[in-house]
């Protein structure tokens, strides 16, 4: 009894200041404050779930994996886009933690934003391997073909393929903040990811972003790479892509050799 009282007294608390708005019901924008207990390892997502469980179940958040893999819990925490599940309260070192929806994405409700525009930009750069002879990476899944790539070939794009589409970079980018048609760091980095892949033979992918609102709007403010939780470094991908588009670095890409796999049935 005594012991648990003592524990309660020692329990550290944080003020969680949460942005509230229900766009469909046109409610006023305001902030709600909650006093939440936390431990050294409590993440902002844990604290938000505590609020939902014990204080106000109506707080809207989006999350799934709780381990920086699904990319759904992005929000502005103390002014900077971060993953709530990847941000510990103890590392923020403030007595109040402000949670707001990710900037540059329309608010649906509270901390949940609409990713349609972001995903449209992603789709727009054709983020899949294209080939001229109809053999593509779906054939590797069917195990009828395999592509030969050296570890060096893989290293050219692997980093960019770690993107979890969390939208943090899109939120941090100053160009996105004023130009909705700009593809944003995520989509541009993905374009480079497929461009640099030796399995990809797409001819016109670069034309997609060679546009007034395209890659040339990047001014290398670096904020995308600063906030990316997966080390994708979209700013690097964009500058490397621009280097090709300006003809500074030559595209010496050698296409990966395709090897037909003889299935067992044929051998029998």
């Amino acid at each position: 009894m005594n012991n648990s009282n003592k524990n309660n007294k020692d329990e550290k608390k944080i003020v969680l200041k949460i942005f509230r708005e229900n766009t469909a019901q046109k409610t006023d924008r305001h902030y709600d404050k909650f006093n939440v207990p936390y431990k050294k390892w409590t993440t902002v997502l844990d604290a938000l779930l505590h609020v939902k469980s014990y204080m106000d179940p109506s707080v809207a958040i989006r999350y799934s994996c709780r381990m920086a893999s699904c990319g759904s819990c992005g929000m502005k925490i103390n002014g900077i886009p971060r993953l709530a599940c990847y941000t510990k309260i103890s590392e923020l070192e403030t007595s109040t933690i402000e949670c707001e929806p990710l900037p540059n994405l329309p608010v649906i409700r509270d901390l949940v934003t609409d990713f349609s525009r972001f995903f449209n930009h992603h789709k727009n750069v054709q983020p899949y391997i294209q080939s001229n002879d109809g053999v593509d990476d779906s054939d590797t899944e069917k195990k009828t073909f395999s592509f030969y790539q050296s570890p060096d070939d893989v290293d050219k794009y692997l980093q960019f393929s770690y993107c979890i589409k969390c939208g943090l970079c899109y939120s941090a980018c100053p160009t996105v903040g004023t130009d909705l048609k700009f593809p944003g760091p995520q989509a541009l980095a993905q374009l480079y990811r497929y461009f640099a892949d030796t399995r990809d033979e797409a001819k016109n992918r670069l034309d997609i972003v060679d546009d007034r609102h395209g890659i040339w709007r990047c001014h290398f403010a670096g904020s995308c790479s600063k906030v990316c939780p997966k080390g994708v470094d979209p700013a690097l991908g964009i500058q490397l892509l621009r280097s090709y588009m300006l003809g500074i670095s030559k595209n010496e890409k050698k296409l990966a050799k395709k090897i037909e796999i003889k299935t067992n049935e044929e051998n029998i």
Binding site: P174, T178, F220, C228, G237
Partner: protein, 148 residues
């Protein structure tokens, strides 16, 4: 480029977010200064062309315009021009290289804590050097303009 749906401007950071460069490290500050100084230099440049063209109205017109720079505020304005042009040129040369992917490192296999190679210390030093050169040039300008 294909028109995209969902063009809602709800929650865009816009100019308000732009005006605060302090949240994202030195590269964002560099971007911010490059634009501020660029626009400032453009304004100066227009004024400069206007000023030099007053010569067509005779020496008096030219000299009366030049008088403006002989005041304390005129001196301070010129010191700003010195600082802005020094930073803008030095950092601009760095940006010309970065914009074509030079000096940013190569893609690799990222590992925790995921320090992005494009935000490396060579780049940060470039920004610091541009700022230091700019401060030094302004100091020199100050001693010349406000000195004996």
């Amino acid at each position: 480029m294909k028109e995209l749906e969902h063009d809602s401007r709800n929650n865009l950071e816009g100019l308000k977010g732009w005006l605060n460069p302090s949240r994202y490290g030195w590269e964002r500050i560099s971007y911010w200064f490059q634009r501020i100084t660029g626009v400032f230099l453009l304004i100066y440049f227009i004024g400069h062309v206007y000023e030099t063209s007053t010569i067509v109205n005779g020496q008096n017109a030219w000299e009366s315009f030049l008088e403006l720079t002989q005041t304390v505020w005129g001196h301070l304005f010129l010191i700003m021009v010195i600082g802005a042009s020094t930073f803008h040129s030095a950092n601009g040369i760095r940006l010309i290289f970065t914009h074509v992917g030079i000096g940013l490192g190569t893609p690799g296999r990222p590992d925790y804590p995921y320090n992005p190679s494009s935000l490396n210390y060579r780049q940060k030093s470039g920004i610091w050097i541009a700022l230091i050169l700019s401060a030094a040039a302004m100091y020199y300008g100050f001693t010349v303009l406000f000195g004996e």
